[in-house]
């Protein structure tokens, strides 16, 4: 717990331009479940969470992302060496591009910039009907719309009712419901699949 809180302080320090960037790097990563067990910054249930941002990247300057939310509000997000970044898989800052969608969680700085602890780029969580299976692709029906889910060799995994994640997708059944965690291809109806959850 202390480690997490120290990490949060280091993020803030790093974002403010102090020597904390070195500290954050030296601290290294911590287990994700431990990171999210940190005491939450108090926000009224039901209210907008000021420590969270949803939107699309409109520009990238240095390590700062300018993001436009779906309600048209603008947000500045500072990426530090301590920020964990996910884009289909854990990745690095250079993989973020203008036009990407994202969710970010972090700490608000006095100038309203969000010092990001975690950024999930283009992440989608789709509950869908499996309409068809093609070569390295799943055709998904989601809210009346077709989504093309690309199978990414070496990354895509299936979880069949709590089995360990496996690369074998042969147990997926057309006509059944699945849940897919994936990464959206901006401005298309296509995603890359990270994990598909299905009944065996």
């Amino acid at each position: 717990m202390d480690t997490t809180m120290n990490r949060r302080r280091l993020l803030t320090t790093a974002a403010l331009g102090g020597a904390g960037i070195v500290g954050a790097t030296a601290l290294g990563s911590i287990a994700p479940e431990d990171a999210f067990a940190a005491p939450s910054l108090t926000v009224e249930p039901g209210a907008v969470d000021p420590h969270f941002v949803e939107g699309r990247v409109t520009s990238i300057t240095g390590t700062m992302l300018l993001v436009t939310s779906s309600d048209s509000s603008l947000h500045s997000i500072r990426i530090t060496d301590g920020t964990s970044i996910w884009k289909l898989r854990p990745t690095t800052f250079d993989r973020i591009a203008v036009g990407d969608g994202l969710y970010a969680r972090g700490v608000r700085l006095p100038d309203s910039t969000l010092a990001a602890e975690s950024v999930w780029v283009n992440i989608v969580n789709v509950r869908a009907h499996l309409a068809a299976v093609g070569r390295n692709v799943l055709h998904l029906e989601h809210r009346g719309q077709r989504i093309i889910g690309h199978i990414v060799p070496g990354t895509t995994a299936a979880v069949y009712n709590n089995t360990p994640a496996v690369a074998d997708l042969s147990l997926l059944r057309i006509g059944r419901h699945v849940q897919v965690i994936g990464a959206w291809h901006p401005d298309t109806n296509e995603i890359d699949i990270a994990t598909v959850y299905a009944a065996a």
Partner: protein, 136 residues
């Protein structure tokens, strides 16, 4: 309400990017991905007729309406978040018997869906599904 054990996932709402672009603001008309909110399977008769947790053997799930406060704890790490009902869901019966675990801690059947803002307070969005306990 007695503590309800099961699985928690997340869903987007409010008109956002990607597949979330057409999701709208949920059954309560207030749902937004950036707010601390959740979907509950028993907000009305019409809602319950869709989600049907009883088909998965879950009986006595309380009728709670828009704005009601629940607390969800991620049983993998003990992190807890308070959220208010903003939508109907998840569709529990589509995944009857589904189980998710971390180590020896397991949850069976989907009982609550959190917004990304709420879920990311207790787990990484990339996990998708966690065992949980829901309390009032």
């Amino acid at each position: 309400m007695a503590a309800l054990y099961g699985e928690v996932s997340w869903f987007c709402c409010g008109n956002s990017w990607g597949p979330c672009g057409s999701t709208g603001h949920g059954a309560c008309g207030t749902c937004n991905s950036g707010s601390l909110q959740h979907a509950w399977p028993n907000t009305s008769d019409a809602c319950y007729s869709i989600t049907r947790p009883d088909r998965c053997g879950i009986s006595g799930m309380s009728r709670r309406t828009c704005g009601f406060l629940h607390y969800t704890t991620n049983r993998c790490n003990g992190a807890r978040v308070g959220t208010r009902i903003a939508d109907c869901g998840p569709q529990t019966d589509l995944f009857c018997g589904e189980r998710t675990c971390c180590g020896s801690v397991c949850g069976t059947n989907r009982v609550i869906d959190l917004t990304p803002a709420a879920y990311s307070r207790i787990a990484s969005l990339s996990t998708g599904l966690r065992p949980c306990v829901v309390t009032t």
